[in-house]
Symmetry: C2
């Protein structure tokens, strides 16, 4: 509709212009007829529906201010990934639908499909892990450490204030290859620790568990194998629901025996450190289960490495951590920010997960024609919630963020100096100076100075009749209002020196 | 399929493991039964179709090497955009379908729609210009200079070797606002000139024209108003087809009179500079047409500004330039790389457009409920073709590109030093040093040194029994094989100094 309306308005303009210009009456008549036809047509279309001016549900634009915050966060994350020697890759935003099939368990219903317009059936990527596994299998890569920062898509119920969107960024770091146990896994946790500390988001805890411990726990609690995954995703809800609700879901919806549920209930309350691992290694039931024993052994090793990294203080071995996704096979973890302003003495409350990951040794094999496995472990930083925290913080503190890096405004004191401004700014651009000018023939000096105040431009290069005669440019320092005449040939150097921090 | 096959393999592994471990016979039996059921099921599914391991048609992955090139190109482009004082924004990858409706003329058929899964009807963005206009109208912004680098989507016939993809990047710079004529337009051309020069892609020419000149030309050639747009898109094909074919499309398919076509044929051969503009301002027919006169007047002004920028040498006023998109209202332009190795004396041949843009004063008004107009002019860099040129060039020159920035590898000379390596690398990471280690308990020194050779890591920090006793670390410079003992407390500083260029 908007398009047609605009077309009519454009046609009306044409008619008006022709009349003003006293154009040939026939031409005017012709255009008027056209206008009337278009209006009639528009009337016929009208009321069909009203055009809504918005972004799709669960998505948002990033304006210059939000981008400044976003790029600051990305810089911190990328520099950490590079510090750990990661390469970077990128994959298409959509994949063949069948590439995503059977990877996400109950979450598959949240995948965005593209319309079948002939050709291949496509879906928007749901995470960066499955495309990574597809990339490894496709290129027969058995050994890589890479990061990937890109948008992923989930048809979930958005809660934008809490940073939950349908289009959102993930910052993934993964280590693929056959290595000695727990060394790459420990590095992933170190990375989460470094990034969350670096971004200064307040206190946090990284919960750690292992799919093998969970499966062993389910087995000894008497959960039938067929129910492992679905019971696992019930346990996964423990961070959002109280145990009672989760229990009734297990027993009611998923038909688990009350006894089994209650045995699970005892385990999932447990969280701690090496002490707990040792205790469970002695647990009469768990210690008898092969998978649980493997998992607990590796968990012990992991904690030894984390001790060497000096980060066990923020790590909690937590039997209630399950992670929704199907493809995890070993260690899993999730980082949670802790409530800042909680009552003295209370145990801190989680305000939502900002990072998660784990080991998925079977995923690449799903794509390899011969089923060759490439063991992988990785972490994903959930950056959107971090954005909203940083944005709220910036709102609170009224500090002014610059959204450009302009070093100097090329201004003029008198009229008729547009050509001189164009010549000077062109010299500055060619010398690599970040320079702007107002797009007016004869701007008022006051407006030009005001523009610098508003946008935080530190310097003004003022051309005037006299300066041109003397072969100088008047350089004004906006903060101090100090003005100095600089010889034109040394202007670039002078600007560089005075804005060296940029 | 792959998923089910992998599941079967996983189940087979379980059975094998249980047997190895001499597990409880009943448990083994149960798992075997399960395995057989799964195999049966798989057999039933088999032959349905075979899973193909690929990216969707017209898309590609970027591996570490391609990313190195891509980021190099982006750095050059972004630094130019920032040099001209642009802010940055981002918008969602999809828009409401109706947001894109009626903006692209004949190209609309190339838009990717998302499947209707309930809720809003969505399409992937086709360019960054329409989302930008939607963003301005939605936020009532009447004045902004911004850049936006993101992927866009077109269901076109891909020609990947020539850099034409269905998913590809655009790097857009736009100036929105009511300003004095041709000043922002001139800056857009200056930007194209700076970027193409900076990327050293060889010789290029920037063709310039104006929609008003084209429409005026069509009018004086006797093209009926109703046919302006469709004839315009025929003219747009002149860079790919000879005039004869374009003419027969105009006359045959589009029902234009042969006389009108021939008159157009005369004009579209013309290209030149200020001289041509002057000549056309005297042209008995064109000079009588209001639109053409406006367009030619502005074109003259534009060339005056481009002369001050000193770039007219690469600018060609070309009456055959039309640009496909519907939304242009004034100046249009397109940058073309010229054939490097062409026969001496020949006129250089274009090898495809790498940038284009123009003025679109009506587009924002299409979105504004009250039709308020925001004049805009912008440029879009078609980066994919630039990537493929840079990639081919890199292939040719066998120079080795590093895909990581790692400064030092933490290595050990003897066995049983994993803990010491973990302690040291953790210290280095915390000090901001980019460090890696091999994920093995007891790696051979030779393999550790080889890893540095392969990946270009310049330094190796070697821990050994003796060094630990002496409180030093042996620092090896890979290039020279020189080795120095550095006191542990000054290791960070030493690494910084020796890798200061990083």
């Amino acid at each position: 509709m908007a398009a047609e309306e605009a077309a009519v308005r454009a046609q009306a303009d044409t008619v008006r212009r022709l009349k003003q210009d006293k154009a040939d009456p026939d031409e005017i008549a012709k255009e008027v007829t056209k206008l009337l036809e278009m209006k009639a047509q528009l009337g016929a279309d009208a009321g069909k529906h009203k055009f809504v001016l918005k972004t799709p549900k669960g998505t948002r634009d990033f304006g210059p201010k939000e981008m400044a915050i976003r790029e600051k966060a990305f810089r911190a994350i990328v520099s950490c990934f590079k510090r750990h020697g990661a390469e970077v890759i990128d994959t298409p935003v959509f994949e063949l639908k069948e590439t995503l099939t059977g990877k996400y368990g109950e979450d598959s219903k949240l995948i965005y499909d593209l319309k079948d317009q002939g050709g291949e059936l496509l879906s928007l990527r749901y995470d960066l892990t499955v495309p990574f596994a597809r990339y490894l299998a496709m290129n027969k890569i058995t050994n890589i450490k890479r990061y990937h920062i890109a948008k992923v898509y989930r048809r979930d119920n958005p809660a934008m204030t809490r940073g939950r969107y349908r289009e959102f960024y993930q910052c993934d770091f993964d280590i693929a290859g056959q290595f000695d146990p727990m060394i790459p896994d420990a590095e992933c946790l170190k990375i989460v620790h470094e990034i969350l500390s670096d971004l200064q988001l307040g206190d946090f805890v990284i919960k750690v568990n292992d799919r093998r411990i969970l499966d062993g726990m389910f087995a000894v609690c008497g959960v039938p194998d067929s129910k492992f995954r679905t019971i696992c995703s019930s346990v996964d809800k423990l961070d959002k629901m109280p145990w009672e609700e989760v229990r009734s879901e297990m027993v009611g919806e998923k038909g688990l025996s009350p006894e089994a549920a209650d045995r699970i209930g005892e385990y999932v309350q447990l969280h701690g450190g090496l002490d707990l691992i040792e205790r469970l290694l002695q647990d009469p039931k768990l210690s008898q289960n092969k998978l649980a024993k493997e998992g607990l052994g590796d968990m012990k090793l992991l904690f030894e490495y984390l001790t060497l990294f000096g980060i066990t203080g923020k790590i909690s071995f937590d039997l209630s951590l399950a992670r929704g996704l199907d493809y995890y096979t070993g260690v899993i973890f999730e980082a949670v920010l802790l409530q800042q302003d909680n009552e003295h003495g209370e145990e801190p409350v989680g305000v939502g997960s900002v990072a998660g990951g784990g080991r998925y040794d079977g995923l690449v094999g799903m794509f390899d024609p011969k089923g060759r496995k490439v063991p992988c472990v990785g972490v994903s930083i959930g950056i959107e919630r971090i954005f909203s925290i940083l944005e709220q913080r910036l709102e609170a503190s009224e500090e002014k963020v610059r959204t450009t890096e302009t070093q100097v405004l090329v201004a003029s004191a008198q009229k008729k100096l547009l050509e001189e401004r164009l010549k000077l700014i062109s010299e500055l651009w060619d010398a690599g100076i970040k320079a702007e000018m107002l797009y007016k023939k004869n701007p008022k000096l006051l407006n030009q100075l005001q523009y610098c105040e508003d946008t935080g431009i530190p310097l003004v290069a003022i051309v005037g009749e006299q300066e041109l005669k003397d072969g100088v440019v008047k350089l004004r320092i906006v903060a101090t209002r100090e003005e100095v005449n600089v010889r034109r040939e040394s202007l670039v150097e002078e600007i560089r020196i005075r804005t060296s921090q940029c």
